[in-house]
């Protein structure tokens, strides 16, 4: 049987991109900054959120993505902020349609910053646009200094890199200079932070930057 070739040239993710665009327009309309936190399991994403919520002057909400359990949502709820848990039941990343569905149960009134904590994984979450303003790569000293070059997609496309568990440095072998050199080579524009989980040192710089991003978003919204 004869075949004919049909030219299409369209994105595989066309449907997903439409959901992400919808999220982006809801966030823009309401002037809410949307940050997508991506990192390995145990990188310290939830701890970073806890430390953020403890100190922040803006109003925040959190969407938690996990394969199973509501443990992260319970930790976040302790701070009295709105939180929605998405369980992917095996899925290694969040997708925009899941986030849109979570919006149905979220109170947007007077919200400044919405954090999405993605499923713990350095590969797949980087691939899926959730309509975020920025992807934030969260990496701990315990994971080793080689992660940026091993996972170039995330570290090349993120807007900030947060190195957590700085307090472990005296006890482990972590080439800090190499880590930041590799981040810089992949992404010279990314904002860079180091957080000491015990003393909370470094959190203020992170919070100030989030506030600046929020201000910039609202300014462009008004423009």
């Amino acid at each position: 049987m004869a075949t004919k070739r049909v030219s299409l040239i369209q994105s595989v993710m066309a449907a997903d991109e439409r959901y992400a665009a919808r999220i982006r327009s809801v966030m823009k309309e309401r002037g809410i900054l949307l940050l997508n936190l991506i990192g390995s399991p145990g990188a310290g994403k939830t701890t970073l959120l806890e430390e953020t919520l403890k100190r922040c002057r803006f109003s925040a909400a959190v969407i938690e993505g996990d394969v199973a359990t509501a443990r992260d949502a319970e930790r976040i709820a302790a701070f009295g902020v709105p939180v929605i848990q998405i369980n992917t039941k095996g899925g290694c990343h969040l997708e925009a349609n899941l986030v849109l569905r979570a919006f149905e149960n979220l109170q947007f009134d007077k919200l400044d910053v919405l954090f999405i904590e993605n499923v713990g994984n350095l590969v797949c979450p980087a691939e899926f646009d959730l309509g975020e303003d920025m992807k934030i790569a969260v990496c701990s000293t315990a994971e080793g200094a080689d992660k940026p070059l091993k996972y170039p997609h995330l570290f090349h496309t993120c807007s900030a890199v947060v190195l957590t568990k700085k307090d472990l440095l005296p006890y482990i072998r972590f080439d800090r200079e190499l880590f930041w050199k590799d981040v810089e080579s992949l992404n010279a524009k990314a904002a860079k932070f180091e957080i000491d989980n015990l003393s909370g040192d470094g959190i203020d710089a992170w919070l100030n930057t989030v506030e600046t991003w929020l201000k910039q978003k609202r300014e462009t919204q008004r423009a």
């Binding site: 049987m1 004869a2 075949t3 299409l8 595989v12 997708e95 992949l186």
Partner: protein, 120 residues
């Protein structure tokens, strides 16, 4: 391992198109995938074979063209390629660099069997 999600998205795009155009059987699907996309071709093909069963796409061969990384400096205009994307222009050192290729995830074209008497 997000290949199954990609395959689901691929089927969501192509199956309505098959129904609309009354294509009963697709012979070949040509995809263009950027090397920064972290897609394992064998895993994608395996997921595709599993998920497409019972559809007009069931026996289609999936051909993947890998697109290498290309970058361009917005300051000096230098263009380059490589294995790893750079955050700084190797020519002038500017951080205003754009990655112009390497993130593709596109359906380029299909080869479909023409329905019996319409052939030609």
């Amino acid at each position: 391992m997000h290949e199954m999600s990609l395959v689901e998205a691929l089927l969501d795009s192509l199956l309505p198109l098959c129904a609309e155009n009354k294509w009963e059987k697709v012979d070949r699907i040509h995809l263009r995938i950027g090397s920064l996309r972290q897609v394992i071709p064998e895993a994608l093909v395996f997921c595709f074979q599993t998920a497409s069963s019972g559809t007009p796409l069931a026996e289609a061969a999936v051909e993947i063209t890998e697109i290498g990384i290309r970058q361009k400096c917005d300051q000096c205009g230098l263009e380059w390629g490589g294995e790893i994307p750079l955050g700084r222009c190797p020519g002038c050192g500017s951080i205003e660099v754009a990655t112009t290729a390497g993130f593709e995830l596109e359906i380029d074209s299909l080869e479909v069997f023409e329905n019996g008497n319409e052939a030609g």
